[in-house]
């Protein structure tokens, strides 16, 4: 075939071999389908992921450095903002660590309150994770149903703490205020509503063809690898390892509660979803048992070394005023030493490693964020998968930026 002079030869249009070229794509840091600022540096062969480098740190606020500047009580608002999907669990975890360092045993009623508040928070955490997972796969209705269920629980949290998200409920030696008088009735109504929504979502999602196809077999990780990567919580339990800090090293009054640890078998996204789903029902069981067992009594230790005096005494007596001044200005003098305390957070083992030098301020505060290690393993889960699997796998790791980047 004759070619007109000056015409472009076909070789100018055709790449040597378009399928063999590895393409580098940056996904994020603000991608509409990734809730959380994180960047995936993908190398794609077609739609297959050859390699992925996960870049975190976009929400780094220097939590650990800030904690070294204030007193121990100043750290509680910061702890809220680690995992903002379940702030009460962080609060409880941090309080337990400081109390172990200080050698304080909180009253029984306070322990029950912490269990109740923590489990409410665990359900909101799971609802956020699963609702968003459904939402990102196009099941927007199911996503919003779950967020509606979360509202019932946020109302409860508001009734207990006075805030919906930034709760700052725990203190060294206790909690700020008692449960409302009608806590049992409020909880019964809220849990009934949550159960209704969960039943709807179960019917909408668990056997939904599209949902199962996108989740089952995706992002799977083996048991040995999961342990080596430091995975805990639902990610590890989905592989079949029944490790739950509440059972392995019971803290607070979890040893008096009757609950199961749901596990999966394959460690894929569908198992993670089902483990979280089943855990919400277990958490509701715990809340109901705790509310039935909760005794009367004080909600904080009566020790002026640790707990602020009531406002009436601060304004009405010189001792109360001085006590308040010393605690606020100098802080609680926690004896020198160090502890590592692990609790079961929404995403897994939430650990606090604290070092005190005996002054009123923390010498070192280290948080072990569970989703940090999940994000570390994400590269292994994704290699060889399709680019669309990034969304579901990332969603099931449930990275919370504040916690992962501290």
């Amino acid at each position: 075939m004759a070619t007109a002079p000056g015409a472009l030869t076909p070789s100018r249009f055709v790449e040597p071999d378009p399928t063999s070229e590895v393409m580098a794509i940056q996904m994020g840091p603000s991608h509409p389908a990734s809730h959380g600022t994180v960047k995936f540096n993908l190398r794609l062969d077609g739609e297959t992921i050859v390699d992925v480098d996960v870049e975190i740190g976009y929400l780094h606020r220097g939590f650990e450095k800030m904690c070294e500047q204030g007193t121990w009580n100043h750290c509680f608002p910061y702890a809220d903002r680690l995992n903002y999907a379940s702030p009460l669990l962080n609060n409880v975890g941090f309080a337990l660590a400081v109390e172990k360092l200080a050698g304080v045993e909180v009253p029984e009623r306070c322990q029950y309150i912490r269990v109740i508040a923590g489990e409410i928070s665990r359900i909101t955490d799971h609802l956020t994770c699963l609702g968003m997972a459904a939402n990102e796969l196009g099941a927007i209705s199911a996503g919003f149903y779950m967020l509606e269920a979360r509202e019932f629980l946020y109302d409860l949290v508001e009734a207990i703490t006075g805030a919906r998200l930034t709760v700052t409920y725990c203190r060294l030696g206790g909690v700020v205020k008692d449960l409302p008088a009608d806590m049992a009735e409020r909880t019964a109504v809220a849990l009934r509503n949550v159960r209704r929504v969960l039943a709807d979502c179960d019917r909408l999602l668990s056997r939904n063809r599209i949902f199962v196809d996108r989740m089952a077999g995706i992002g799977a990780i083996g048991r040995e690898e999961a342990i080596s990567w430091g995975l805990t919580g639902p990610l590890l339990r989905a592989t079949g390892v029944p490790y739950d800090v509440r059972k392995a090293e019971p803290y607070l009054v979890y040893d008096r509660m009757d609950f199961d640890v749901p596990t999966g078998t394959t460690g894929d996204n569908y198992d993670r979803f089902m483990v979280r789903f089943a855990e919400m029902h277990q958490s509701m069981r715990i809340i109901e048992q705790a509310l039935a067992q909760i005794p009367d009594g004080p909600i904080a230790v009566a020790d002026p070394r640790w707990v602020l005096p009531p406002k009436r005494e601060v304004y009405g007596s010189i001792e109360g005023l001085m006590n308040h001044f010393k605690l606020v200005i100098e802080g609680q003098k926690v004896p020198a030493g160090e502890v590592y305390v692990a609790t079961e957070g929404g995403n897994g083992e939430l650990g606090f490693y604290l070092v005190s030098d005996g002054s009123g301020r923390p010498y070192r505060v280290r948080v072990r964020p569970p989703c940090f290690y999940g994000m570390a393993a994400l590269g292994d889960m994704l290699r060889g998968r399709m680019v669309a699997d990034v969304i579901t796998t990332f969603g099931q790791i449930n990275m919370i930026g504040g916690e992962c980047d501290h």
């Binding site: 450095k65 430091g230 390892v241 030493g337 502890v339 590592y340 692990a342 072990r368 290690y373 994000m375």
Partner: protein
């Protein structure tokens, strides 16, 4: 459990509120950590966390802290490795537990402790051009960072760099 740990140095247990802690010399650390994982009765199959503490004014200045947990045996151990200020390096634990991959990157980022043998020791929370290591006690709180020149993301999209 502690009697099985193959180290000579023991730590003052009172300051640790009854938690199991051992101090290991830096040169011994790789052998000890591997033994802790592989010993059938210790079986520390998970490195829960790895971080460091800066004891400014003390010699040696740093301590690298490993929080170990055995899922099969349900016990914990904390291993501390003292690191001097003039040579802040520690042999890597990435060949023993994979969770050390990111945890060591963070410790390098925050404390400037280098992990020799780490396959990919980059900053993780801070950006590559960041100056200093913010969790060191002598890092000034109000320190300003210099402006970073704009980097072309197309020509250098994949900066797998090893920092000096």
């Amino acid at each position: 459990m502690l009697a099985l740990v193959p180290v000579t140095t023991r730590f003052d247990a009172a300051a640790c509120r009854g938690e199991a802690v051992v101090v290991v010399e830096r040169a011994e650390a790789p052998r000890v950590l591997r033994t802790l994982r592989d010993h059938p009765e210790l079986a520390f199959d998970q490195l829960s966390d790895l971080t460091a503490v800066d004891y400014l004014g003390r010699t040696p200045r740093f301590e690298v802290v490993y929080q170990l947990y055995s899922i099969s045996r349900n016990h914990r151990l904390r291993v501390k490795v003292p690191v001097p200020e003039d040579d802040p390096t520690v042999p890597t634990a990435t060949s023993v537990w994979r969770s050390a991959l990111w945890a060591e990157r963070e410790t390098w980022d925050m404390f400037g402790i280098r992990f020799t043998g780490h396959p990919d020791l980059r900053r993780i929370l801070m950006y590559p051009e960041f100056e200093g290591h913010p969790l060191r006690k002598d890092y000034p709180l109000m320190k300003r960072q210099p402006l970073v020149p704009e980097r072309d993301p197309i020509t250098r999209p994949w900066h797998r760099r090893t920092e000096a």
